[in-house]
């Protein structure tokens, strides 16, 4: 895999800051923004591509954490989340908007609205019984 380019790193940085702003808790929000800025600043002169890739991978994982935590944070907050997941652009991402009563498509960005449970954020493989072609009962 080619090492991450400067553009990719910048995109990641912007994405992380954008997601961090959605924390509803003041302390988490300010910490995330501050820490991300300081961490990227601290590592800006790293030259070794392997090290850069390690840092980028860690940043991607943290971005995932922030996304999941922002959604957990406050039910109202979920409504303003457009949950486009990085790396899964091919799939139809979700979007939720405040106030609207679950139309199929979001009027703002045209993506699908779906109502899901926290277990989707931390989901795992299906049970063996769910893979059967025809349900028994």
């Amino acid at each position: 895999m080619a090492a991450s380019s400067r553009a990719q790193v910048l995109d990641l940085y912007r994405a992380m800051l954008r997601e961090s702003k959605r924390f509803s808790a003041y302390n988490y929000r300010t910490y995330a923004i501050r820490r991300i800025r300081d961490a990227f600043r601290e590592n800006k002169n790293v030259k070794d591509p392997v090290e850069i890739q390690t840092l980028v991978n860690k940043a991607r994982r943290d971005l995932g954490i922030i996304r999941r935590q922002c959604l957990n944070d406050h039910p109202k907050q979920l409504n303003s989340a457009c949950a486009a997941v990085e790396g899964e652009a091919a799939e139809a991402p979700l979007c939720l908007l405040p106030g609207t009563a679950h139309p199929l498509l979001c009027p703002d960005c045209g993506r699908t609205r779906v109502k899901v449970h926290i277990s989707h954020l931390y989901s795992t493989d299906k049970l063996v019984i769910e893979n059967q072609e025809k349900p028994r009962t």
């Binding site: 924390f23 979920l78 989340a81 899901v116």
Partner: protein, 406 residues
């Protein structure tokens, strides 16, 4: 549109079943309940408010009492509260195996923070239980002249750091067991159980941005330290602490330890800077302020200041927008001044006027500035109202006054 099967990270919409409106707690913080009236099947008997009123919450400056969960810790714990719910002691199926793997991984994370071997970490319900196990060891000692030295690494009230390495050196040379309660120190200052010759160490989860209800005790294996278990049962945790290990909590503790290890330097630098700012600003604006505790051997995040001629409790009440404490949470119910302050020789009147400011990983400069501003404002106001202050301003030496009894 269909939800693709392989997709994990979907947007979340949580329905909160309203039920009867929760009673407002008497201390004035209101719970904000999100009412999702159209969707809910449960009828609310209270009038459906358009949106629950949200009061403004105070700033949190009491990190020695407890800390908020780091989002990274919560993220690590949630899978074990949702899908991976097996008992880690079940040996016969994947649910047990994955839970056990998580528990052992957490054990490794805790051990690496303090330079120990994972086999030396026993999970408990908190530092208090760990302390009890360690002290009980004294009674289980074989030799009649074995004794135990128990010292707090960082004091929770005044933030003083004890010279652990030196004490450890002395204890090991005299063949005396050395226990330290490192609840406030783990993850904040570098600790190594081998360098500091520590035999027993208590660790608390909720002091290091981890969950409440979990902790650990470090028990040295070489040379072996024998402890007697407090609770007996199924023999879990090498027989030292029976009872099912709570996987979600220990995963949280492990994650908190790992995060602490990574963030220790950054946090320490930041907290020191904020602490200096707080102390300088207060000292600059107010006379007669004493910082309790040794200024050199001091953990910066715990600042205990005594404001002369101001009663501590009244200052706490005045600073209602900031969550503070005077002395430790465990003794906050009583009105006695802190035993720690008394022990370091603080005058009775100064001991009553002490406030503890806690600065943690999530504290911002804005919060510190706000706290300083309010503190200065209220101390000035309370001093204006104080007859003792008036007398001091007039040059009367308070110690020379003969108070008469009525």
């Amino acid at each position: 549109m269909l939800l693709r099967a392989g997709w994990r990270r979907a947007a979340l919409f949580v329905t909160v079943a309203p039920g009867p409106r929760p009673t407002v707690p008497s201390r004035g913080l209101r719970l904000s309940v999100v009412d999702d009236a159209p969707q809910s099947a449960v009828p609310t008997d209270a009038a459906a408010a358009p949106e629950a009123e949200v009061g403004l919450r105070p700033l949190y400056m009491d990190v020695q009492a407890t800390t908020p969960l780091d989002p990274r810790v919560l993220d690590a714990m949630l899978p074990y509260l949702i899908n991976y719910y097996g008992n880690p002691h079940s040996r016969t199926h994947a649910y047990g195996w994955e839970s056990e793997a998580a528990m052992e991984h957490a054990r490794q994370q805790v051990a690496s923070l303090i330079g120990a071997d994972p086999r030396e970490i026993i999970f408990t319900s908190g530092a208090t239980e760990s302390n009890n196990i360690a002290i009980k060891e004294l009674e289980a000692a074989i030799q009649p002249d074995t004794s135990l030295v128990s010292v707090m690494t960082v004091n929770n009230e005044i933030g003083v750091k004890q010279p652990i390495a030196e004490i450890g050196q002395i204890c090991s040379s005299r063949k005396v067991y050395f226990h330290t309660d490192a609840a406030q120190a783990v993850g904040k200052i570098p600790l190594d159980v081998n360098d500091m010759k520590i035999d027993l160490m208590s660790i608390s989860g909720h002091k290091i941005y981890g969950p409440k209800g979990v902790g650990a005790i470090y028990i040295r294996r070489r040379p072996r330290v024998r402890v007697e278990p407090l609770q007996s049962g199924g023999g879990q945790e090498r027989g030292m602490r029976s009872g099912t290990v709570p996987t979600p909590l220990v995963v949280g503790l492990g994650a908190a330890c790992e995060v602490a290890q990574q963030e220790m330097e950054y946090d320490h630098k930041r907290i020191s800077k904020l602490a200096d700012q707080l102390i300088q600003k207060i000292m600059k604006s107010l006379p007669n302020v004493v910082m309790n505790g040794d200024p050199e051997q001091h953990y910066p995040g715990c600042i205990n200041l005594s404001f002369a001629y101001v009663e501590g409790e009244s200052l706490l009440m005045a600073l209602k927008d900031v969550a503070l404490s005077s002395g430790s949470a465990c003794t906050s119910a009583s009105l006695e001044p802190s035993y720690v302050l008394r022990a370091i020789g603080t005058d009775e009147d100064l001991a009553h006027s002490s406030i503890r400011f806690g600065i943690g990983r999530f504290t911002t400069e804005e919060e510190v500035d706000y706290t300083v501003e309010k503190c200065v404002q209220h101390v000035k106001r309370l001093r204006e109202m104080s007859p003792l202050w008036e007398m001091v301003q007039d040059g009367i030496d308070l110690k020379s006054i003969k108070w008469t009894q009525h």
